[in-house]
């Protein structure tokens, strides 16, 4: 793992950010290698990893990483420096949030290991809770905004505290 030296440009045409919607849903299953790689690379987008480092860090079988990295790069979900380091993309707020939610999921499952309730203990008697999002909710979605720096946001008014 190294700090990336060169900001990447993708092999294909660059993305027009005026047309790109960062709120497009991420549907990657958490148990897949894709999700594991995104979780690693988006924890700090300033860090670049070689494929070998990613394989070692995530304890993935040999031969599975390069293909997944290539696909993620082709899908423009991750960047690659000229010297072969893979990294998260600064402008992909959606993937950063996805990575954060994976970390939160890990935390939940680690802290609360046994619920004491298995799926077998819950009998389905009606319809599933899964629901389509109303189309009007998908229109005019907010885009992420940067927050002010801490000292511009909150100032100390009582030095004694």
């Amino acid at each position: 793992m190294r700090y990336k030296r060169i900001q990447t440009h993708t092999l294909k045409m660059p993305i027009d950010l005026r047309k790109h919607d960062p709120d497009d849903p991420i549907t990657i299953r958490p148990e897949t290698n894709k999700a594991k790689i995104i979780k690693l690379l988006y924890q700090d987008t300033n860090l670049g990893f070689t494929p070998a480092e990613i394989r070692e860090e995530l304890d993935l079988p040999r031969g599975t990483v390069s293909g997944t990295l290539s696909r993620l790069h082709e899908e423009r979900r991750i960047g690659k420096t000229n010297d072969g380091l893979y990294h998260g993309l600064d402008h992909r707020e959606d993937l950063r949030r996805f990575a954060q939610s994976l970390v939160s999921l890990d935390m939940m499952l680690s802290r609360h290991i046994e619920a004491g309730i298995d799926p077998d203990d819950v009998e389905q008697t009606g319809t599933s809770a899964k629901t389509e999002i109303p189309s009007d909710r998908l229109e005019g979605r907010e885009t992420p905004r940067e927050e002010p720096a801490p000292d511009e946001w909150i100032t100390v008014t009582n030095n004694e505290t």
């Binding site: 999921l105 009998e123 389905q124 008697t125 998908l138």
Partner: protein, 115 residues
């Protein structure tokens, strides 16, 4: 079509790593107006245990529609997380809290955060 789980859904979240054997039952507390609703959801955990330093709230079986809880279950108001929507397994049972159930969960969380 993008989907979500409405506020009050009782669903199972799956361990993505396989390190823990059982999916975990959780209740969705965010609603459709939540930012990034098509990508993630905010949940509170359920447990069958009730001996914690903080009070837990029993969830009566009649407060859940579309599924039947076969074990006494408690809401743990301090166990609130944001998880990816794709970690919720739609091949496992899922139901929805009644209005009384929603009020009970809200009161449980309110009891923790209100000074």
């Amino acid at each position: 079509m993008p989907y979500y789980y409405p506020q009050g859904s009782l669903v199972f979240a799956q361990d993505p790593t396989g390190a823990h054997s059982n999916p975990r039952p959780v209740i969705v507390i965010s609603d459709v107006n939540r930012p990034y609703v098509e990508q993630e959801t905010t949940i509170v955990c359920l447990s069958t245990q009730n001996e914690y330093s903080h009070d837990v709230t029993q969830l009566p079986h009649e407060y859940v529609d579309d599924v039947e809880l076969q074990k006494t279950s408690y809401v743990m108001p301090w166990a609130i997380y944001t998880i990816p929507l794709s970690s919720i397994r739609d091949n496992l049972p899922s139901g929805e809290l009644t209005r009384d159930g929603l009020e009970l969960v809200a009161d449980s969380i309110d009891g923790m955060i209100r000074p």
